[in-house]
């Protein structure tokens, strides 16, 4: 399936990735090529086949709802591009 440049803009927005305007057409071509290859799947009848999410059909293992991790906020925030007083700083969202 071919995707148009406007499709790419929509997907890029969903993925939160900026694509330079002069790159959009090239990206659309590449993604269209990949989707065309992927479309080989559509020729196969899978109506009676159930989807497989895990190769062992395993389901999520649950654990007791108990605190198991120490609070390491200060340590983790040393990795942050900007943090202050225990808070991550981002550009102003609300005036």
């Amino acid at each position: 399936m071919a995707v148009s440049p406007s499709d790419i803009e929509k997907i890029a927005h969903l993925a939160r990735i900026r694509i330079a305007p002069d790159q959009i057409d090239a990206v659309a071509d590449r993604i269209s090529d990949i989707l065309a290859m992927v479309d080989q799947m559509q020729a196969v009848d899978t109506d009676n086949v159930s989807p497989m999410a895990n190769p062992h059909d395993a389901v999520q293992r649950l654990r007791k709802d108990e605190v198991s991790e120490l609070n390491q906020r200060d340590r983790f925030q040393t990795l942050a591009p900007r943090a202050e007083d225990g808070l991550y700083l981002v550009p102003k969202v609300i005036e």
Partner: protein
Amino acid sequence: MHTLSLRELADGLAKARFSSEELTRHFLARIAAHNPALNAYITVLEEQALAGARAADKQRSSGDVHPLTGVPFAHKDIFCTEGVRTSCGSKMLDNFIAPYNATVVEKMAAAGMINLGKTNMDEFAMGSSNETSFYGPVRNPWDTNCVPGGSSGGSAAAVAAGLAPAATGTDTGGSIRQPSALCNLTGLKPTYGRVSRYGMIAFASSLDQAGPMARTAEDAALMLQVMAGFDEKDSTSIDCTVPDYSASLNNSLKGKVIGVPSEFFAEGLSDAVASRTRAALSEYEKMGAVLKDISLPHSHLSIPCYYVIAPAEASTNLSRYDGVRYGHRCDNPLDLADLYTRTREEGFGDEVKRRILVGTYALSAGFYDAYYRKAQRIRRLIKNDFTEAFKSVDIIAGPTSPSPAFALGEKVDDPLTMYLEDMYTIAVNLAGVPALSIPAGMVDNKPIGLQLIGRDFAEADILNAAHQFQLQTDWHKQFAPAFA
């Protein structure tokens, strides 16, 4: 010392023929001499390795130790290593100092093994040539104009050139086996759930597995023994007994049935690789195994299926890189949207962006059933092919990759051609079964690999078959001439 196997190095240490410090210095010196030409390492941990080696020597002199205590190795730069940059080959994590250890890192350290450094890789493990790395391409020690394969290309080149005796790798669609084939190594992708994924930076969570890359099956067995096991911290880890992988290496293959899928010898395989692979398979007949023609009828769908499932999972996993909590952040963001979109534009390379976009598309409203659900149904058909085949065979064998190492730059601008590199390896990840690649000879003076695929959790069977092959052949003993 750099041409010895892990087993031989462990013996040498046990018999005090050399110390861990001497061994570690030897490898560090080789890295200093040869890494500039190969670019196999992103980070070399000289001081830490030497401190670890001295501690290992002390420990060894004072009593019982794990046989691999003091043996050096390298970690793919996808495993979080506390206090050490863990980049995953990406600009996004160029400044990321991991605050904790991956379970695999913990286990290797607990065995007393010495981490020489972190090896180069395709960005976020997305690639088959190690050319998508932010840190530049890795060169193949067998021909430095060629790629080493990917995504574990740095690990493969490091071991093949004697810059480490073994290394860890990860394999989502062939990333341990294909570079092992292209660099003349023995590399094993375990059963999904066998080795903990905790602290291993996620690409496609239902496919990713870590495994050993070494020179011999015996070494791969030793290393897998250290890496494998249930882990509470990985919600997809499987609680299943880990056998002694070395104990069954010498089992006879008499009467074992090896299935050879016709689909693995069809269009796309180079003639020279096909005949070399057939010649390797005939070795098994000499050992008393029986070759049986089989079919994996949905093989042709594995690449289309994978290029929906892997990107879909990647788009989800990589949404965490937002420029807020760690990693790259763009300069002077205008607002929050600009912060996210520009950080991700700058931090990710082209192939990673492509896969995030494909995955986002496949998961988006209106396309989810046609792409993601469809791929999950095809995945079951592929798994069923293996289940059916294993009713009548013990092992499945064929080529690891369709051709030997190719030239740097040859395929990097053509993603669809690059994707075909993994045409024989990807189905294995979709099915979750274990597989390994072993050296199977030379084509145009470059190594090729034989792939052995086993039943779920039957790593011991394929290691046994690999070891028996290595008792009869000496391809695995051949060392890249320029680095001998």
